[in-house]
Amino acid sequence: MNAIKKLDTDPVASRRLLIAAQILALIAYGLGLQFLLRTTGGTVFVFSTLGPVLVGICVLILAGVTIHRFLRSHSLFSYEIFQPGEIVFQQGEQGDCAYFINSGEVEVVVVENGQEKVVAVLREGQYFGEMALITSHPRNATVRAVNATKLAVLGKKNFLTMLNLMPSARKDIMHTVTERAMKTSASQ
């Protein structure tokens, strides 16, 4: 339950879960090899009881993360709450949604040569995370909640549909994207 809650707010958690699933799969493969190379009561017992349990956990993790990602990328303004210091997304991650700040503040942090640099602070009414959806490039900055922050999440599909359907919103967003890109390159 805790892991699922974490998954909702922290994309790093889904990566950790997937890595854990891969490690569990490696253990399951190891049990299989052990059974093949040395068939005894113990190896058969472990392979035929623990093996399927490990595989089942792996499949559940993969299915859970995949469904979560699908729902996120098709999200239509679902709300997520972040506590101060919590990371919304990290630089270098693949983006699947944009965020609209309902309340609170976030800071946009760029990591250069291992040093963190705050390039902007965004407040209620502003949005972020749109650039990765338009360019399909990884996130170019890390975003962190400064105080308790409520964000409305718009999935990539719905975000792009909105741009197509609302030319005025597209114009405004493209203007912001250009401005932010210039600001980011200037800060580097």
């Binding site: 889904s14 990566r15 950790r16 879960l17 997937l18 890595i19 699933a21 891969q22 569990l24 799969a25 490696l26 399951a28 493969y29 299989g32 090899l33 059974f35 093949l36 190379l37 040395r38 068939t39 005894t40 009561g41 113990g42 058969v44 017992f45 392979f47 035929s48 093996g51 399927p52 490990l54 595989v55 792996c58 499949v59 993790i61 993969l62 993360v65 995949t66 990602r69 991650e93 693949q94």
Partner: protein, 232 residues
């Protein structure tokens, strides 16, 4: 190129190793389930390990697109499920082998050693050395006829493995229940030779009123094991 050749050599060596390590004694008796099943399972496992390691190193848990997702699904779901499937077939196959029973050294080794001893005149040894039962001798004699017999044997076998590895077994090793006549009769009954000797009281044998071991156990015990290790 050199790396690819090395990879191929490792894969072939791994794929054939289970056959070498768990080979059957006579070439004309190669079991296709063991022969191909073990190789396929090894290839599935080796491929799975390679896919998972590649995915871990290349993507580190990130799902960046369809390829990373496909590799992840292959490594943690599809290939493990396949290996469980092939593995189950092999588990059922190998769990019937004498070598498998013998692997519980402390409890079963003495029984198997007696059975394989050409000097022994126990019933097990007589059946073994004369090839009355071609293979899987422990399993054949200690499993009742039909599907229910197999299920019962597997269930009791799992219990035995648990008792063995938790070291909760006690000497002397005993059968759970008296040896049933049916386990002898499933092979011997109604043959001409058997009818010649047992025809007069065969109904008693079928009904279990007389035990086969009442007569045969006196001259030839089922196993020749020291009393402190096992009851006869």
């Amino acid at each position: 190129m050199r790396f690819q050749k090395l990879w191929l050599a490792v894969a072939v060596a791994l794929a054939t190793s289970p056959m070498r390590l768990y080979a059957q004694p006579s070439r004309f008796q190669q079991d296709p389930v063991e022969q191909y099943g073990a190789r396929v399972l090894t290839l599935v496992i080796v491929t799975g390990i390679a896919v998972v390691l590649y995915s871990l190193i290349r993507y580190r848990g990130r799902l960046t697109g369809p390829i990373s997702w496909a590799l992840l699904a292959l490594g943690v779901a599809i290939l493990p499920a396949l290996s469980s499937g092939f593995g189950t077939v092999l588990v059922f196959e190998r769990a019937e082998r004498v070598e498998f029973c013998e692997s519980c050294h402390l409890t079963m080794k003495a029984f198997v050693t007696d059975m394989k001893n050409p000097q022994s005149e126990s019933l097990a040894a007589i059946h073994f050395k004369n090839k009355y039962i071609p293979d899987d001798q422990c399993y054949v004699c200690h499993t009742s006829y039909g599907l229910f017999g197999t299920v019962q044997a597997k269930r009791e076998g799992m219990h035995d493995v648990f008792v063995y590895y938790t070291r909760t077994f006690k000497f002397p090793i005993k059968l759970r229940h008296p040896y049933p006549n049916n386990d002898c009769l499933k092979c011997h009954a109604e043959s001409v030779k058997w009818l010649g000797v047992h025809g007069d009281f065969k109904e008693d044998l079928f009904a279990g009123k007389t035990s086969c071991l009442e007569c045969h156990g006196q001259t030839n015990p089922a196993h020749n094991i020291p009393d402190e290790r096992a009851s006869r």
